[in-house]
């Protein structure tokens, strides 16, 4: 599904956001990406949906080397990847339905089909009754659920989430993680960047840790705080 081969990302001569990162994420996995602020989590995700390109190394997603994608192909690649952001990134002048159906509108899908698909995903996130609301009329949790609906409306094989619960309280965070888990059960590969260790412990999923641009893999026992087994760093790939 996702393979990184010795990927580095530099911003100028002295700032190395990622350093020689290699890892593999299989289809259908649920993986957390964690680390302190400035560790490179957001950069890692930006490389995966081609908001940035790697300075060195290769990134293969679904068999495509996205590091060498020409700019004209990037929009088409992004339509196969769902992305959720900490600040939701909803378009303020569009309704919930228009935000969710945006790409389908660009593609010229019939409006009836757009509504059917949007209703279906909004029902999954529990917001099918808010289709005509504007983002400013929704709470933070509702806005994030709309963002998730937008991310999955095209049935992507990969869902990326960058600190999706960063602006939410613990209860809402749990709710959002449950949604991600449901999406993962249906076969979508999910990669969530977060520094919420408690959330990670409760979910009991695979964890990749970034520390000053270097990647380590950790296992965390579910519901057993304190029982953290360190796995020695092994060069992968």
């Amino acid at each position: 599904m996702i393979q990184l081969f010795r990927v580095s990302k530099d911003y100028g001569r002295f700032r190395h956001a990622l350093a020689d990162v290699s890892c593999t994420i299989d289809r259908g996995e649920f993986v957390f990406l964690t680390g302190p602020s400035g560790a490179g989590k957001s950069t890692f995700l930006k490389l995966l949906f081609r908001e940035e390109s790697p300075s060195t190394g290769q990134i293969v997603v679904n068999g495509r080397n996205i590091g060498v994608l020409p700019p004209s192909q990037i929009p088409y690649f992004r339509r196969t990847v769902g992305v959720v952001f900490q600040d939701f990134k909803l378009i303020g002048r569009k309704t919930v339905f228009e935000n969710v159906a945006f790409v389908q509108n660009v593609l010229g899908l019939p409006r009836a089909e757009q509504k059917r698909r949007a209703y279906h995903v909004l029902k999954r996130v529990g917001l099918h009754h808010q289709m005509n609301a504007l983002p400013e009329e929704l709470s933070g949790g509702e806005q994030q659920r709309v963002a998730i609906a937008r991310a999955i409306v095209n049935e992507p094989t990969l869902l990326l989430a960058d600190e999706p619960t960063g602006n939410l309280d613990p209860a809402l965070s749990e709710e959002i993680m449950r949604l991600f888990a449901e999406i993962n059960i249906r076969g979508t590969t999910v990669l969530v960047a977060t520094h919420d260790i408690e959330l990670i412990r409760r979910m009991g999923k695979r964890v990749l840790t970034l520390d000053r641009g270097h990647l380590r893999e950790r296992e965390m026992a579910r519901e057993a705080p304190g029982l953290v087994r360190e796995v020695p760093f092994l060069p992968l790939g």
């Binding site: 929009p75 088409y76 992004r78 339509r79 303020g92 002048r93 569009k94 790409v103 660009v106 010229g108």
Partner: protein
């Protein structure tokens, strides 16, 4: 990408920033109004210059009892003369009334016609410089002629002045048109700045550059078209106001510059210029990747 999407998005952009759209339209209107005004004056100058295509070289004033046709026929034999026009007393009086309507009442009570008949002599294009003076001198010797004056020098200076004004008007018009395009680009950029974050979100969601830009191009072109329409309306309002004022209080110079409004094809160029400026402004504003 369907046209319905582009039009729908453009309308949505306009609705989301009504005040900014209105201000941009007004700014575009003002930017096009000034060069439009120059075009209006320039067109009337061109008409004036065209009307002077047959400038009068010599004016021959006749005695009241003279036979104008006989004098005209004598003069017309000169190869330096292209045409001789007879201006009767009545025609001269009518010209006076048109040029100075507030003075017409002063002479309305006169028993005799105040203006004698005259001949206007148009020189041939091949006539050498100074022909006017020579012809005037010869005309004074003819029977029935009270006086003859050469207008050749004045006519040439007037023609040159008109050409100079037109040239200056065209140059200023070109400079102001460039300024108008840049003003439109700035107005469009201000409007697009409101949507900068939105544009970035659309990119992240997988919209192509064409899908992002096309609605903004359409929106900015429509803004420019509306601004041009408002400019045309302001120009027409200015023309009508000035025409009404000149009808009440005629000015011998300004009145000849304000004869007619722009013809239809030229008038339609104003909103068209706005549309083009809006489109160019949006292309410049959105840039390669914005």
């Amino acid at each position: 990408m369907k046209p319905r999407y582009v039009v729908g998005e453009a309308l949505s952009i306009a609705r989301s920033g009504r005040r900014q759209t209105a201000m941009a339209v007004l700014l575009i209107a003002l930017a096009l109004y000034v060069p439009g005004l120059l075009v209006l004056i320039s067109r009337n100058l061109a008409r004036l210059a065209a009307s002077e295509a047959e400038p009068v070289g010599v004016v021959v004033t006749l005695a009241p009892t003279a036979d104008p046709h006989a004098v005209a026929d004598r003069l017309a034999t000169d190869r330096r003369i292209a045409k001789v026009r007879i201006v009767s007393s009545a025609a001269a009086l009518e010209r006076f009334r048109s040029a100075y309507p507030d003075l017409a009442a002063a002479i309305s009570g006169l028993e005799e016609a105040p203006f004698p008949p005259s001949l206007e002599v148009m020189l041939a294009a091949s006539a050498p410089v100074g022909s006017g003076r020579a012809i005037a001198g010869a005309a004074r010797a003819l029977p029935g002629v009270d006086s003859a004056e050469s207008e050749e020098d004045f006519g040439r200076r007037f023609h040159d002045a008109v050409k100079l004004l037109r040239g200056a008007g065209i140059f200023l018009g070109a400079v102001l048109s460039i300024a108008a395009v840049l003003s439109v680009a700035s107005a469009v950029r201000l409007a697009l700045d409101l949507h900068r974050e939105e544009i970035e979100i659309m990119r992240l969601m997988g919209a192509t550059e064409a899908a992002i830009r096309a609605p903004f191009w359409l929106y900015a072109s429509a803004e420019g078209l509306a601004g041009g329409g408002v400019a045309l309306f302001l120009l027409y309002a200015t023309y009508r106001t000035a025409a009404a004022w000149l009808a009440r209080d005629p000015h011998p110079v300004i009145a000849v510059l304000w004869v007619r409004f722009l013809d239809l094809p030229t008038a339609l160029l104003v909103p068209l210029a706005g549309l083009v400026a809006g489109f160019v402004g949006s292309v410049l504003s959105l840039g390669r990747r914005d």
